[in-house]
């Protein structure tokens, strides 16, 4: 069976190339997509990000990519993985910049408060042990040694704690990953996290969300 291509959304302000590099090294069919029409046929998508929320969200909307993603992921149920800024943009926003997030998952993006994290430097740059707090498609709850690379000054706060599936610590516990149906997001950079990231992207590539099995997306 041929595996469907993973479309990596290229909106001109992310590290789409890094993500593509790792997917290719994993032998997963993948390509960059910068056109709304291209996204509408995507079976599996990654929204990467090393950008500024303001610029990223405005670009996604301005190029018609936000509408295409909405149709494909919210209406048709295609699995979507947001990475770092890509994950933050799925929230309502509220932190970085002025432009609002897409608001597709009930969550906010907030700046780290240096007082809350005991005076640690902000942004949080570096590796952190990361663990699953409930079943999820990205990291097995049995995993005890996973560590990932983080580079963020903002963190995600889920309205419903049940959506916060991965956790890490930087002076305080924070949401390292969320899942709501076919939408998943991670605060760290799996494409830059050695074998831990390799394993996570491979799991995402093999995942069929429950909603997608019922219809919408041909598996």
């Amino acid at each position: 069976m041929s595996r469907p291509e993973i479309h990596v959304v290229d909106y001109g302000a992310g590290n789409s190339k890094s993500v593509l590099n790792m997917l290719r090294a994993l032998d997963l069919p993948a390509r960059l997509s910068s056109e709304p029409g291209d996204l509408l046929t995507a079976e599996r998508l990654i929204l990467p990000g090393v950008g500024h929320m303001d610029h990223g969200a405005a670009t996604l909307r301005g190029r018609g990519l936000a509408d295409a993603l909405k149709r494909r992921c919210l209406e048709d149920g295609a699995p979507l993985l947001g990475i770092c800024l890509g994950a933050q943009m799925l929230t309502r926003g509220g932190g970085e910049g002025r432009a609002d997030g897409l608001g597709w998952i009930g969550a906010e993006t907030r700046a780290f408060d240096t007082r809350e994290i005991g005076g640690l430097p902000v942004p949080h740059m570096g590796w952190a042990d990361t663990w699953a707090v409930r079943d999820n498609p990205l990291l097995p709850p049995t995993s005890t040694e996973a560590r990932f690379y983080y580079a963020h000054g903002f963190h995600i706060v889920c309205d419903d704690p049940a959506d916060a599936v991965l956790q890490a610590e930087y002076g305080r516990a924070f949401v390292a990953g969320f899942q709501r149906g076919n939408l998943v997001g991670v605060q760290f950079h799996p494409e830059k996290s050695h074998r831990f990231g390799v394993a996570l992207l491979a799991r995402f590539a093999a995942w069929t969300p429950a909603a997608a099995r019922k219809g919408g997306i041909a598996a």
């Binding site: 190339k17 500024h52 942004p123 740059m125 590796w127 050695h194």
Partner: protein, 257 residues
């Protein structure tokens, strides 16, 4: 004293010259040729290093743009965070570097021309993607930021320059002690401590490291968030042949106070 991050990063710094070859300098001058940087990156990748910093040390001096082809070839082998610096004179050059697959850009010379490039790059890519590099030279007890290219003026107060870079949007500071580069003399701890005490952003030590004890000193004594080094990861020992190495997490953790 600033609180130590849970996992301070240990970062090999790789220098490339105008031909795209990997080199290592002593005090930013005498160079040892070390071959193909792509090979080195493959090895560091296998060793699961925390992060890599790649600097083209001739681009600014030559007045040429970065060697994007080379950066892309290197980035394609790096499944770990990669920062690139050298010859990034405008936002377009920084954008192209990101398109090559690097996570962060290292900006140096822009400090003389005002913080506009840091501001513009941070506005588009976020502070976490912007590293300001301050090459610092010691003059007796004084320290000065020493910008190598084109007879640029020196900035007398490194901590003030560091603060200005962070205010402009730099998310990280790479403090490179020029006269310790390649000397195995240890980090300039008073300089690092002075800067780390005055900025909120992570400070990365560079220049002079001999081994894990120096990494620990930079973090525990000077308050740095990370420790970078070149020679110690590229040579068997001072004055000896090339050998790529990287300490185990256990060895690093055993050195923390």
């Amino acid at each position: 004293m600033r609180r130590r991050p849970p996992r301070p990063r240990i970062i090999p710094t790789l220098l490339i010259d105008r031909s795209g070859a990997l080199v290592k300098t002593v005090r930013f001058r005498r160079r040892t040729y070390l071959g193909d940087p792509v090979n080195a990156v493959r090895i560091f990748n296998l060793k699961e290093v925390d992060e890599l910093i790649l600097l083209d040390i001739d681009a600014t001096r030559d007045g040429r743009p970065p060697n994007f082809e080379r950066i892309e070839a290197i980035a394609s082998e790096a499944f770990l965070p990669l920062a690139y610096g050298g010859g990034l004179r405008d936002l377009d050059a920084a954008s192209r570097a990101f398109d090559c697959g690097v996570e962060k850009v290292v900006l140096t010379s822009c400090l003389t021309g005002g913080p506009w490039l840091i501001e513009a790059a941070a506005a588009r890519y976020g502070s976490q993607a912007i590293v300001a590099c301050l090459p610092v030279k010691a003059y007796w007890r004084r320290r000065r930021v020493h910008l190598p290219a084109g007879g640029a003026p020196m900035i007398s107060d490194p901590a003030a320059a560091a603060k200005a870079a962070v205010d402009a949007g730099a998310g990280e500071l790479l403090i490179y002690a020029v006269d310790r580069d390649g000397t195995y003399a240890g980090y300039d701890l008073p300089l690092l401590a002075d800067i780390a005490a005055q900025v909120d952003a992570p400070v990365v030590a560079c220049g002079g490291a001999r081994g894990v004890e120096d990494f620990a000193a930079a973090v525990d004594q000077a308050g740095c968030a990370a420790a970078a080094a070149g020679s110690v990861f590229l040579f068997q020992a001072k004055g000896r042949g090339a050998l790529i190495s990287y300490p185990s997490r256990e060895a690093v953790e055993a050195a923390w106070a």
